[in-house]
Every structure is written in structure tokens, then in C-alpha cells.
Amino acid sequence: MMIIRPVQRDDWAALRELARKTGPGFTSMQDDDDHVHNMIESGVSAFAQESANPDAYYLFVMEDSDSGQVVGTCAIHGAVGMDDVWYSYRVGTLVQASRELGVYRQLHTLTISNDQTGFSELCTLFLDPEYRKSLNGHLLSKCRFLFMAEFPHLFSDTLIAEMRGYSDANGVSPFWEGLGRHFFTIDFTQADQLSTRNKVFIAELMPKHTIYTNLLPEAAQAAIGKTHDATLPARRLLESEGMRYTHYVDIFDAGPMLEAPVQEIRAVRDSRYFKARIETVPDQEQPFLISNTLRDGFRCCTSRAISLRNSIASLDEETATALNIRNGDTVRIVPLFAERRA
């Protein structure tokens, strides 16, 4: 069974091994000792803090309870842009019209903004390729919503998630080639990696003025707000939870940013408290996402062996063990999948 729990220092070896599998371009978890070490330390201290540090980095791991092996990781950044500056391009609309001449055209613009400053961010999701099956991906992504539902004071009112932007079959980002390269004169990969360490160079080099997108090459224009093929499933998952593209994109590859008020995310809004009753339960058609209510002892998993009636959740022994709960404890439950609207 797959269990989500906060990261611990002795996850080092497992996470270092996972990082080796991420491959280039995965800047939020780089194949680098220092990087992984810093992730773990930030994560451990986030859960340990009594009060809410807005900048905290809540790092979770997914453990296979059968083998004890760590096979995935995910994180929430309490608030972005509080230490480093957070940049995005806002995609605006501009109408060029002269009624006298009968001219009317809509253009689009890109304007540098820090509008997401202070927002919480979903980040660093990575699942071992061997485990990309059944409900694992959904659990790894959505467990964060139950944590946020349980501890809203640790987070901003608004949640964002950056989607990797479009690149072609050769890994080339047409947006970078059409815009960023003129100003940064370095490779996309280099810029992307640098930006995780220090963003001063962005302030120094980036274009300060609003850009008219119609002056960019067509391939660059087409890439604005377009998600990388490999990230489309992740985007669809977050959209099914109510996250929406609100016309902000990454300044390097123009990947879309998704956004939602935390309290309007389905898994946050629809999750409910139940009292756990441990007993044998036949599998139901619909899987549930379920968590306990602890912070540093947070546990989350999925289960079909759950039956809800009024405020009682019947669940089986395996699930109780995974969540580290006893009979009568309070649990938070939400259907794993959003209902399709009729």
C-alpha cells in the first residue's frame, strides 16, 4: 500500500536515488547532492516548526508500505517570492482600434509581473517511473490538498502550480529561442537551473518593457501558455480539481501557471471529517483519499475499502495502519476523483 508522510532525514539515500532518475530540465529536484540535501533540510524544518513560516517548504514522500521503499515525492511551498523575487509574464490583451478608420484588432502582450508574490505553490512532484500506475499519481498529487485543508493557516488563500512549457522533439523551447535568448544569451537549461539558486540575474538581464507577442516568431507565440506534452496529464489532474490558467506564464518557457483559491479546490472544499470505525469493509466502486489530522505525523493514502454513513467512516485494518490511527480517531476523507458534472 502507498502511504504519504512528511520527509525525514533518513530518506536521504532514497531521495538521492530518485533525483538521479529525474533527468535534465527537472529543476525542482536536481541530480545533485547539495540540492537534495537542501530539499530534505527545508522539508524537515517546515514540519518541525510550531508556528507558520510563510516561506516553509513542506516536502512529502510516498512510501510503499510493503517494501518500506520511498518511490515518490511532492511538496508545497508555503509562499513564493518572499525571499527571492517571483517572476511571471502576464499575458494581456490589447485592442488597437480606430473607429474613424474602421480598424479593430486584438493583440497580446507579455508583461513582467510579481503578481503571485505570497501565494502558495504546488511544486516538486516526482514519481519513480516504475510506480506510475494505478492511483499512485493521483495520491501523490492530491494528498497535498488534504494537508492544506487541514492546516489552512500555513498557506496563502491562493494556490498556484507551474506547468512545464512546450518544447519540441529536440528539447528546444521555441519561446526561449524567440524571446529569452535575445536577453539572457545563455541556454535555456542554464538559465532554468540558475534561477533555482539566485534570481538576481533575472532582474539584471530580463526585458523590462512590455512585449508585443505579435513581434515574436510564430512558434514562440504558439508556445505561450502551452503545456509540455509530458505534463498534460498533471495539468488535467489539477484542472479537474478546479485549478485554472489565469493568463500568467513562466518567463523562460511560457508554460502556463494554474491558479485557484485554496478553499475552492474540490478536494479541499468537499473533504469532510469522519470518525473512523475499523472493521472489514468490502471494496467500493469509488476510491477515496483519506488522511489523519496530524501535522508532523501526517499520513495520507487512497482506499476503496471505505464506507461512509453519516459521520462514521468504516475502514479496514490496513488503511488504519497506513494512517497510523485507532478506532474512533478523526479522519479527513474526500472522493479521490471529482464527479463529472451531469
Binding site: 488597437q96 480606430s98 480598424v103 513581434l215
Partner: protein, 342 residues
Amino acid sequence: MLIIRPVDFPDLPQLEQLAVQSRGSITTLPANREYLGQLIGLTQSSLRNRVSLPGGESYHFVLEDSDSGRILGISGIEACIGLDSPFYSYRIDEVVHASRELQIHNRIPSLHLCQDYNGTSRLCTRYLAPEANEAANIHLLSRSRMLFIAAHPKRFARRTVVELQGMVDDEGRSPFWESLGRHFFGMDLSQADYLTGINRKTFIAELMPHYPVYVPLLNEAARNAIGQPRPDIEPVMDLLEDEGFVYRGYVDIFDAGPTLEVRTDDIRSVWQSRTVRLAVGDAPDSAPWLLLSNDHTEDFRAVLVRANPERPQVAPEVAAQLRLDDGDSVRVLPLGTDDLLI
């Protein structure tokens, strides 16, 4: 003989022919009878008015073959541009984007919409019929305006500008317009020129790109056109540079042709011209080429003759054309070289 004189109402039909012949290449010479009529009216009223500070006056002169009455060219001066509606230019600003840490030092030029030439005088509407396009006529048509300025300094601003037509490709299209202006105006350059010519300029405020345009984002042909005159008007540019006009990084907002400027007092023909006594008699054959003009307003006349610059003697018919008698004061500008007719 060929003379310069103020344009007048009987010239309207011939002026219209010139405008048609110029096929819209001169913004301020649109083939629009109503506008051309106003241009004549404005010249006549400007000449009649007593002026102590330059304002909305406009002075247009024609090159006439006094024998046939044929009009071969036109040139003008606007006393003060940008009074009625703003006079727009692009100013090329170069900004260094540098990161010491990354050892990057990029010079990025951008085009800024500006009105820095509001309040200057402008040489304009210079058009010479193709059959008259020879050096002597270019000098007479262009430089006689400088003599008018020298004679009436209070009528003009401290600085004078002149716009040169920009680069065109093999099909006669402006690569700069095609790459930039068309996106915003949604019309052909000729139409934009025409609307500007007839002074319906509201559309510029409505449709111009107001954000600075980064030059590296333009295509190569457009970049190369910035500040470049159309090759066939290079002789005009040479003449203007010889007069002291310099290019300071301002270009036309439509075709990116260079705008040249000069302190009005520093125009070579203005400070080198001087008044001497005119003698009437036999004209010499081998004297240097001179521009001669009277210092009148409505009766302004200029001619190109060979004469002694210290005490020019001209044939009676020349004096008559100049509206001067023997002993009258005449303005003289030696052209400096004898290679005029090459």
C-alpha cells in the same frame, strides 16, 4: 529659366499632377485636392502674416520653368511642428543589460515612441519631377529654403529637422513597416502615409505601439532598415549633411527612415549666405555657381546663376525674376564647387 517662388492658387492643377506623379512617396504631398488647396492657402496666409514667434505657418515653394510656366518641383518648410497634433518619432535607446556574476553584457537597442521634435521647424515636401532630377535643381529646390530661413529667422524655431524616406525592398515595400507597423495599424504604409499627410492623425495615438519595441525582436530586414534612407535619396542626405544636419538616432515611425536635425542658426546655407548689392548687366560665363534670392515674403524668389559672389551681376531678365533692381540688396550663397552640373 528655373526659379523658386511661393506656391499660389493657380498652381493647384499642376500641383495635383505632381502629387499623382509622386505616387504617395511624399507623406506631405498627398494626391488630395482639398488638402493641396489648403496647403496653398496656408502658404499664402503664412507669408502675409507678421510673425514674431513660429507657430502653425507653413511655407511651400515651387520650382517653375518661367518660360513655359511648368512646375517641376515643390519643397516646403513648416515653422513649428507638433503644435496642432503631436509629432511622433521613434528614438533608438540603447540599454545595457549586464550581469557581473554571469559575465554577460548585452547592449539592447529599443525603439521608444516620443515627441522630442515637437516645437521644431521641419523641411518637408521636397519633390522633384523625374525629368528635372539633376544636381542643379536639387540644390536650387533644397537650398533656396535655407535662404528663406536666413532672411526670416524669427519665423522659425531654434532647431530644424528633416525626415528622409526609409528603405524599401525590391517590391517597393518598407521592410520596417511590414515587420512592425502593419501589426498595429492593419493597413498599407501608403494609406498610413496618406492619412498623416492630410493631417488626420488621431489614428496614430489610437494605433501606435506605446510600449518600447526591442529591436532584436524584429526581423533582420526590419532591423537593417532602421535609420537607413532609401538608396536613391542618398544625394539628398549628402546635401543635408553638408548643410550641417546630423542623425541622432531618431527615425520615422512608419518606415524607420532617419530624421536629421540641426540648430537652425547652424545650417550652413543660413550662416554662410549674406546680402550684397545686385548689379544688372551682362552675366559672366565662367563665374562660380551662386544661389541668389530676395528677402521678400509673398514675393520670395530664388535662382541659380553663375556670378561673382562679392558683387553679383545678372542679366535684366534674372533681376526681373528676382523682383530686384540694380543696386538692390540680394542674398547670396556660393555653392562652393563647380561640379554642380555633373
